[in-house]
Amino acid sequence: MTNKALRQWSWVHKWTSLVCTLFLLLLCVTGLPLVFYHEIEHVLGNEVEAPEIENPGVNASLDTIVTNSKAHFPGKQLQYLSWDEEEPALVYAGLGDELDSEDGNRYLALDARTGEALGEIPFQGTVMFYVYRLHVDIFAGLAGKLFLGFMGLLFVASIVSGIVVYSPSMRKLDFGSVRHHRPRAVRWLDLHNLLGIVLAAWMIVVGGTGASIRGRIWFSVWRNDQLTEMLGAHKDNPRPETPASLETAIQTARDKVPGMIPSFVAFPGTLYSSTGHYTVFMHGDTPLTSKLLQPVVIDAATGDFTDTREMPWYVTTLLISQPLHFGDYGGMPLKILWAILDVITIVVLVTGLYLWFRRRRPNAANRFADDAEIAPRYAGAPAE
């Protein structure tokens, strides 16, 4: 690599980092509590638990659950029912003002065995709601999501360019050298190099997956592309006045893809289905296949099976990206490691920011002491 190329890489590292650092700090700080989302909601009492009942082996009809969900929020539209493997005694219902609305949606937990509504799961207005919105879209909707996604891409670019400029910076040093006896600027450069290179793989994965998780967007593409294809002549079926039994529809879906269990069902007219169909999203029961979804489309007027297909690559990529971003796929020890790695990332960001600031305004007294060491080694500096 020539001096010119090195200068260009340094420029890329400096500017990609500078532009994204403050937002990355926000993402790291808000991401930390989000790693422990369930634990925090549990402690805050925002989770609903299933009561002990006498006859726990039998589940209520899903049609009862549909009726009770609607009765709990009169005037709201039932959009989804979902299940959680960890909580087999519960069914969750999502309701909105309109069938395709997203803002202001309410969530209800129901007892899967009795069909009884147990209570609302608060989300809007909770502390975690604000943390979540700051992390996902900085309260700016789609624009905010795309903006933060772009910051994630800059972060990945800054890590890649950082790996390139790591080599000249370490020219005369062993791996892991931290010159503690030197001035802070040198010490922090060494820490920045050490922690940055050690976390590079993890930061690229978490940053890259974070930038690509735009769930609604990828599902919209799927809906316009593959779902429309699957429905064929039935794609414009009207929404039935009295929909077919959901219990029967789910049973049909289970029979069509044996070995899979329902993850969630989207009702006719919602963002994840068509106007005339239930779409039942099934998932596998092994650690890897439990992350993947297979949609089964059921005619909501007749309850007949319409079609099922594997998800296209972009949705599968999204579904695999989610656990890799959240760190929620390997128990509590993995979450704790995620949190430690997150805090170390904050150290890399802060030391990097400091080094830029320090280089920008070297004062006269320090100039002679450290500048030769913390300045990027290029620009035809005389060989030592």
Binding site: S167, F175, I197, V198, T286, L324
Partner: protein, 73 residues
Amino acid sequence: MAASPLRRGLLGRTYLMPLIIAVISSAGLLFALIGDGLWDYLSWLALGFPVAIGLWFSNRRSRDQRRSTRGAV
């Protein structure tokens, strides 16, 4: 060309440790995705590796430094 820093780094030892750490931490990310139980344990070990290396090297020289400071006094 042979003297360029990146080339020397790739061929020599500059990127050796970073490469080993990257491979181990990537394996750790995948292990927990593949399965439960043993795979989870392997994942914790593998992802604990970059954390351990980072923390250990961050503090390593400070002990040497304390020793040498005491020696000087």
